[in-house]
């Protein structure tokens, strides 16, 4: 009992430290754009962790929710003149609604789910970028949100979304609900005979995961203020989030955090210093990782201590 509380407190302290760090960093480091992107990918990686880490479904089309969030929030602001913050929240809700529409995909497993989800995200992309919808979505010509642009406020919004994503993962990690999800991931039939409502539990995880991606999309739209369909539906976003989670270690709080900071940091560092070797080094690194540390960086810590936050 007490041990559980200690773990909860460690998790909360970790989250508060990270949030405070990103709140203070802009004062000493002026590359605001990089900091924002790191937070964005941490939040996306943690959001993806909710569904991949805890239920084992690999959502290759995770970017679909991100794009839906970005577009829903933007269109609510531009067309219906909704306030920015409610629009972003509704963007998250819109992503969850798309998640509800896509729940039948959860009947698939393994690679089939990943492929179907990928296809679904591309379908959404083609609907939104369809020139016939120019009057509503601006089609392929993109969105301009410069009327509500606010660098500081959108940075802080990202901070809050990141905090929220962290808290969700901590809740999954420490609650019996999270334990039931991990049981489903291991063996859904054995989980159901342990009294777990399998369908409900994994649908909740799926929708929360979509909600986080939707929020990220909305805040990204606000921060960037000008973007095209291919910006917010770029498959690279899915792939980055997946690789960051795998690199750090799924189903933990710090895994996706470590993965994002190290890999996204390297991505920017190599990309600037020696861009000609970037793909090579990055690719090698990922291959090595899968070969030698299939359970991510956190599995190194797990050798020393059996619990990693």
């Amino acid at each position: 009992m007490r041990k559980k509380n200690i773990r909860l407190i460690i998790g909360i302290i970790l989250i508060l430290v990270m949030t405070a760090l990103f709140a203070l960093l802009p004062k000493i480091y002026n590359n605001n754009f990089l900091l924002f992107n790191i937070m964005l990918y941490i939040a996306l990686a943690e959001g993806l962790n909710l569904i991949y880490g805890f239920t084992g479904y690999l959502p290759f089309g995770y970017v679909g929710f991100f794009g839906i969030g970005a577009y829903s929030a933007s269109l609510l602001i531009l067309l219906l003149h909704v306030g920015v913050v409610p629009a972003i929240l509704l963007g998250g809700v819109a992503a969850s609604i798309v998640g509800i529409i896509l729940t039948p995909l959860l009947r698939l497993s393994g690679a089939y789910f990943a492929i179907a989800n990928l296809a679904a995200s591309q379908a959404i992309y083609y609907i939104i970028s369809n020139p016939h919808l120019e009057n509503i979505t601006q089609g392929p010509y993109g969105i301009m949100l410069s009327s509500v642009y606010d660098a500081t406020a959108s940075y802080n919004a990202m901070l809050i979304v990141m905090f929220f994503a962290f808290m969700l993962v901590l809740f999954f990690r420490q609650s019996r609900f999270g334990l039931s999800l991990m049981a489903i991931r291991e063996d859904s039939i054995t989980a159901s005979v342990a009294g777990v409502n399998v369908v409900l539990a994994r649908t909740i995880a799926w929708l929360l995961s979509a909600f986080v991606a939707g929020l990220c999309g909305g805040v990204f739209a606000w921060y960037t203020s000008v973007f095209y369909p291919e910006t917010v539906f770029s498959l690279n976003i899915s792939i980055f989030a997946i690789v960051f989670v795998l690199f750090g270690g799924a189903a933990t709080l710090i895994g996706p955090l470590i993965g994002t900071v190290i890999l996204y940091g390297m991505y920017n560092f190599i990309g600037i210093s020696t861009p000609q070797y970037f793909q090579l080094i990055y690719g090698l690194l990922i291959v090595m990782l899968i070969m030698f540390l299939p359970n991510g960086v956190v599995s190194l810590f797990k050798k020393v201590k059996d619990y990693v936050p």
Binding site: L179, S180, V193, V196
Partner: protein, 236 residues
């Protein structure tokens, strides 16, 4: 009123009918064994009772309540606990496995039951933090049984608990089940091929090709020619 009552149950997989009208009942605190060769339909029957398969026809009652089309997790909450041949989560720790066994109980009760289980199974206590997959075959069965009893079930349904165990461990499992049943007073329905379980039970059913071919109490079963021939190798 029987604890569990199965009436002319027909079930199977998609379009393949495996059970052709099974009648079976389990009384309070009773030990019932389900005998049958491979492919007879033992596992199918247990899965149908747990709600893991579609019921084509017939009824299942638990404590007089019709549960024929109830979802699996709701049946578990009513007090039916099931151990499949696997029964545990290999990639979770022993402690987490136990916690999942009482998934729907509140945390205080869970804690109590966990202590109780560690008392029954001292061996598990020393492996509390270990991944369940790292345990030996016998220990896994112990964990499976402990996990099962976590929820304080009224009916325990076991699918071939002797599977993959040495005769020595089979005896141990029987002794443990005997002891725990006396302490906790649950009913047991066991599907087995291993005849060693016959003396553990009070009553039994022999199924073949999805039908009950023989049923009755222990002495009836032992004196039955079909059972003699199939399990003891005696022809008369």
């Amino acid at each position: 009123m029987s604890l569990l009552e199965v009436q002319s149950l027909e079930s199977g997989y998609k379009i393949l009918k495996v059970l052709w009208g099974i009648d079976l009942n389990v009384e309070q605190k009773e030990r019932v064994i389900l005998l049958g060769v491979n492919g007879a339909g033992k596992t199918t029957l247990l899965k149908a009772i747990m709600g893991l398969l579609k019921i084509f026809n017939g009824k299942i009652y638990f404590e007089g309540k019709d549960i024929t089309h109830l979802r699996t997790d709701k049946r578990v909450k009513l007090g039916i606990a099931y151990m499949s041949e696997i029964g545990i989560f290999p990639n979770l720790t022993v402690d987490e496995n136990l916690e999942l066994g009482a998934f729907f109980l509140d945390s205080k009760l869970t804690h109590q039951r966990k202590q109780q289980m560690y008392e029954y199974f001292q061996d598990l206590l020393s492996h509390k933090k270990a991944l369940a997959g790292s345990l030996s075959g016998g220990q896994r069965k112990m964990l499976g049984i402990a996990k099962l009893l976590m929820s304080n079930p009224k009916l325990v349904v076991l699918d071939e608990p002797s599977n993959g165990l040495s005769p020595k461990f089979v005896k141990l499992i029987i002794n443990i089940l005997d002891d725990l049943q006396n302490k906790e007073q649950f009913s047991i329905l066991i599907a087995e091929q291993n005849i060693a379980f016959l003396d553990f039970a009070q009553r039994g059913y022999v199924i073949d090709n999805g039908k009950v071919v023989v049923s009755g109490n222990l002495s009836d079963l032992k004196s039955n020619n079909i059972v003699k021939k199939a399990y003891f190798g005696i022809e008369n």
